[in-house]
């Protein structure tokens, strides 16, 4: 069968790839059919509700937009605070190359992405344990599935708006996530990683 490259839905982003077919539910077709009494009652209720909403909108046209934008800004700030808190935990657990990226302009499925490197499985487990504990106790965020630390050097924690990648240095070099999300803006962190690295170096030299 010849492959069809026609896009059924009107989605501008999909026309370039032209390999995907997505369509909304066929409500228009349903409306053409003769309606049963139950459907007629539903349609009457829906029409009444829409009239009420339109009447209310005439008075406060500006307010919903303002409220939505303020809510969005608050959510953005909350995500940022949470991501920075997770970065701080990684720093306290001696993780290195901590990178916090604001990926919201690049991808739609998350806002902030934290990438950090660890050197051993105990350190990986320590980072995972501290982050999940802090997120649950301080920020009230729980993971749907707790990471096990047995996934071969790349653990991922998904809090929806914040995604944390804890990787070993080998895995980080191999997948090069920071190169892949190179268009994302880097967020400055409230601690200096270079000082910490220099302190560790000097201390190890003394030994």
């Amino acid at each position: 069968m010849a492959s069809c490259t026609r896009v059924l839905s009107v989605q501008p982003a999909l026309t370039a790839g032209s390999a995907i077919h997505s369509k909304p539910c066929a409500r228009a077709a349903l409306l053409q059919r003769p309606q049963c009494p139950r459907q007629q009652r539903r349609a009457a209720v829906a029409a009444a509700l829409s009239e009420e909403q339109q009447g209310g909108r005439a008075q406060d046209v500006q307010q919903p937009a303002v409220a939505a934008s303020s809510n969005g800004a608050e959510a953005e700030d909350d995500s940022r605070d949470f991501a920075v808190a997770m970065a701080k935990i990684a720093w306290e657990t001696k993780a290195e190359d901590i990178l916090l990226l604001h990926v919201a302009p690049v991808v739609y499925w998350t806002r902030y992405m934290l990438i950090c490197s660890v050197f051993s499985r105990p350190q990986l487990n320590a980072v995972l344990g501290k982050m999940t504990k802090e997120a649950a106790e301080v920020h009230g965020r729980r993971l749907s599935v707790n990471p096990t630390g047995t996934a071969g050097g790349w653990e991922l924690m998904d809090w929806g708006d914040v995604v944390v990648h804890v990787m070993t240095t080998e895995q980080r070099e191999y997948y090069a996530l920071e190169d892949f999300y190179g268009a994302a803006e880097e967020v400055s962190l409230p601690f200096d990683q270079s000082d910490e690295a220099a302190a560790v170096d000097s201390w190890s030299k003394k030994l």
Binding site: H21, V145, T150
Partner: protein, 117 residues
């Protein structure tokens, strides 16, 4: 809807080009399911022809119904190769990926994809 014997296109840079499903969990596999495959066509890369590998289904010709009422389907059946621990074998996902993978705990595949729907 992937069953035993279905040929799938590999949409990552692992080196495999086409695989055949040899084992599914349940009667059939859909987007987000992990299947066992045999590599049928491969170029020089991290896998070779005849090797048995695990793969995550990322595109299916059979439509997937979403809760918002929309339906999504693709031109081809496609997959991404993963190892036994669920880590992608390739470093980039070149084709389409749907956000159903997030609910199936396949965020690593999602993170490496450029086109997420």
């Amino acid at each position: 809807m992937i069953i035993d014997g279905t040929r799938l296109v590999v949409t990552d840079n692992s080196g495999a080009k086409e695989v055949e499903c040899i084992k599914t969990r349940g009667r059939f596999a859909s987007i987000g399911d992990v299947i066992t495959c045999s590599v049928k066509k491969a170029i020089k890369g991290k896998v070779s022809q005849g090797q048995v590998v695990k793969a995550v289904v990322v595109e299916t010709k059979k439509e997937v119904q979403r809760k918002d009422g929309s339906v999504i389907k693709f031109d081809k059946n496609a997959c991404v190769l993963v190892n036994q621990k669920g880590l992608p074998i390739g470093t980039r996902v070149l084709g389409f990926v749907t956000h159903e993978l997030r609910a199936r705990q396949m965020m690593k595949v999602l993170s490496l994809a450029a086109r997420v729907f």
